[in-house]
Every structure is written in C-alpha cells, then in structure tokens.
C-alpha cells in the first residue's frame, strides 16, 4: 500500500467560476492556441513587427551608454514654454 498524502482538492475555484454550459467532455478540455508571445504582443500593440531584440526584453544590456537626455519636470516646463511660444507665433502669423 502506497503511503500517499491526502489529496488536496482546490476545486472550489471551479465550482465558483464555472458559468458555462458543458455540452460535452470536449468542451471541458477545449483550449485555444493564442500563438507566440511575439504574435500576441504585435496584436495588442497593433504593430506589424515587434523588434526581436526588445521582444520579452532580451536581457537588457546596461552598459556605460547614456540614456536619452531627459528630465521629466524640466521638459514639461520647457514644453509648456515652447508651446506658448509656438502658439504666439501662430497667432501673429495669421
């Protein structure tokens, strides 16, 4: 006689969440192939081609390279000033 642990049955999830009518055992075991993560990503991002190098963030290589120079708060202030200047120019050119 095998010495087995008592079966842990986590079936409450199924009982609580099963809201579809089971027509047949085939329904119960039906699964859907959604494709590769690349295909899913392209579909969600609505783009034609996900860059393979950024796909799933191939381990990003932190080197000594400098990121895009940006300071969030400064750019916002600069952007607002730039936008006001642009709007003034637009107004005067009409």
């Amino acid at each position: 006689m095998t010495n087995k642990k008592a079966l842990i049955l986590g079936s409450s999830l199924f009982v609580a969440s099963c809201s579809f009518a089971v027509q047949s055992s085939a329904d119960l075991f039906e699964t859907t192939d959604l494709g590769t993560s690349k295909e899913v990503k392209e579909s969600i991002l609505d783009i034609n081609e996900v860059d393979d190098h950024t796909l799933n963030a191939s381990p990003l290589e932190l080197c000594c390279a400098y990121g895009n120079p940006r300071d969030l708060t400064k750019r916002t202030r600069k952007s607002k000033r730039a936008m006001r200047k642009h709007n003034r120019k637009q107004k005067h050119s009409k």
């Binding site: 986590g10 590769t36 993560s37 799933n56 191939s58």
Partner: protein
Amino acid sequence: MKSFIELQKQIAEFSKKGIKPSVDFSNANTYRKMVYDNTANALNTTYEMTKLALGDDVWMSLVDEFVRNYHSDEPRYWRMPERLITFEEKANWGAKHEVPWLGESLKFEWKLTELFHAPDDTSSDRDHISIDQPAVFGTAWKLMSFNYPVYKPKWTKLSADKGSYSIILYRDAQTLEVKIEEINPFLSVLVTTLKENPSHSIKEILMEIMGANGLEVNDSVLDSTSKFCNKLLVFGVLK
C-alpha cells in the same frame, strides 16, 4: 570636509530622488538623468503592453514613483522590472489610481520575459503520458489566472470584462519561443491540483475533481484527459 560616504549619499539621493545636495556638484543632473533613464528604459521595454494600456501620462507617473521610492535589491538589470510588480502591490498603486487590472497586466508581461530566459529544463524521456501515473511537471512553463483578460488585444479595461481567465505559458522546445494557450477554469483547477498532489495519479485527481463538481467520468472524459495531458507533454509542461 565631508566623508566620502556622505558625498556618495548626496549624489545618490539626488540621482534617485531629486533631493538637492548641500554640495554644489557640477553636472549632477547628468547622473539624475542616467539613473532615471536606465530604469525607465528597462521598464518601457519590458512592459510595452501595460504602458500602452495605461497611457503615457499614467505610466510615467508610475515609473517616476518607482524610481524615487523603490529600493531595488536586484543586481541583474534585466530582472529589475520584476520589482515594479512588488512596488505596485505594496503601494496598492493600481487600486489607488483606478486601474485594478494593473498588477495582473504587469505580471503577465513580466512572465513572458522571465520564461523566455528561464534556465533550460532537462528533456523528457517519455513520448506518452498515462493518466494512471502521477503527473511529473517540467520547469519552463507557468499557469496564470486573471480577473481581467490582460493578454487579449483591445479589451475594454472596464469592469464589464472582469471574469475568470486562465492561460498556460510555455517555452516551445524547438523554437525556444514563449507560447500562450488559453484554458478554461476547469483545466486551470485540474493542472493546479495535479501540481499540488504529485503522489496521486492523474486519473485519481480527475475523478475527485469531477465528483466534487457533480460531473460524470466516462470513457470520453478519460480519453479527453489523456489527450490534454499529452498536449501538455508536447508543451513541456509535463514530462
């Protein structure tokens, strides 16, 4: 003269949190930008789908808070984005900003990255699974259950979409790509219960689950179970 520790503290705190140092460091802004950008770039790349779903403004606000407030103990840069999940949970950020699906979306996207790079599993010497045997699981896969369909394109992000969703992520042994299989709640429970009961046969567990839910076990069900388990063998979920 300030100690070297105090000087390092000042440049580090300025770079991470924007706390103005008492010493005038020339070009200190350069470090602030680099520290911010290196973290932001990693997050932007890992979480492209979540970023799109949140919108730029909300996403940038999340990233900004993470950079300022989270102490990442992860020395591997590529794994650092996982810490955003921990931050979101601790700060209850999604709930506070009325995006209750945020945590699930982050977990889904992170798992795609993590599984893609997961250590290799040993190959199976079986070409068929018998449901009279216990299930033996591989390592390069993950069962994920969600309240929101965060893995689907163009979902509404409204509460009307709230439900019970499950997927299996696995790494294809031939192509090494991560693939996604959507499963129903019953199969999610079956796989979870198989994993939690390694000393019971697949058939025993199936019969217990079906019995607890008032469902009949017949030859058709047994055949379907066998087909499903052999599909999991092909996926590398079972060995």
